[in-house]
Amino acid sequence: MKFGVIVFPGSNCEQDCFYVIKDVLKQPVEYIWHKEMVLNGFDCIILPGGFSYGDYLRTGAVARFSPIMKAIVEFADKGGIVIGICNGFQILLETGLLPGAMLRNKNLHFICRHEYVKTENVKNPFTNLCKQNQVLKIPIAHNEGNYYIDEAGLRDLEKKGQIIFRYCDIDGDVEGGGNPNGAVANIAGIINKTGNVLGMMPHPERSSEPELGSEDGLCIFKSIITWIRCR
């Protein structure tokens, strides 16, 4: 089992992801510079958070054309497990591996705080160790997390169970006012149709040790490991 963490110019969460995989979960992990053209021997690719290319033009719009992205699309098309966190999610949207787009937060603020998300689908590589409707406490840190998709697209996501996380209150109530950025239908994380690509705005790598105030993010990384082992 081997994880790969992609590093774009402007990524800034790659060390946190690397640390959680290597030191907390004791799994092999390597950095992959965005100029690499091939992915060899990896079981899971992580696109970390940060500000790739300074968020110029649109978040993720330039990183999407980095040389490694072609290999990531091929990896994903073959069923490889890909998780994009925050800026990684934005890059996956721009690449078209996930549907929709990101807008600026409704209140125009950069928001950095713990949020509660409800786990709506647990039959996938990323949340199979979570309980259905489990509420996770995971921090967000973004300026463009206001997920947008048109109504037809939203219906499609809901019908196919592609919405994995929705912002909610501490009791798991999605209507409880827990929508920090204005995202359509409180969406915090989605998977693709085949279920092997996840994009999420909250940072599980920042909630994987008790010292950080929450270990709920570990559930996601452990789910990936379990999934790959059982495959």
């Binding site: 600026r104 937060n105 125009l108 048109d150 204005g182």
Partner: protein, 83 residues
């Protein structure tokens, strides 16, 4: 050489919190006649091309590929001069 200006705006169906915030700011300065306000991006491009048709084809391609995200944005461009 052809000079062009590319305008990128959020689609009408997409909420524009920046436009709304600026509108409110202007209203607080006493400008009460603003019906609507949307914010967008302006990109100036100089192309090493002489033919206007080729320039238009290239600009369309650039907008579709990178400059605008068709899910949330519309684009238009104006050729502003040639030398």
């Amino acid at each position: 050489m052809i000079k062009a200006k590319v305008y990128i705006t959020l689609k009408r169906t997409v909420a524009d919190p920046q436009g709304l915030t600026i509108k409110h700011a202007l209203e607080s300065l006493g400008y009460q006649k603003i019906k609507d306000m949307r914010m967008g991006k302006l990109i100036s491009i100089e192309l090493d091309i002489d033919n206007k048709k080729d320039a238009e084809r290239l600009l369309n391609e650039m907008c579709r590929k990178l400059l605008a995200n068709p899910i949330i944005e519309d684009y238009s461009f104006k050729i502003t001069g040639d030398k």
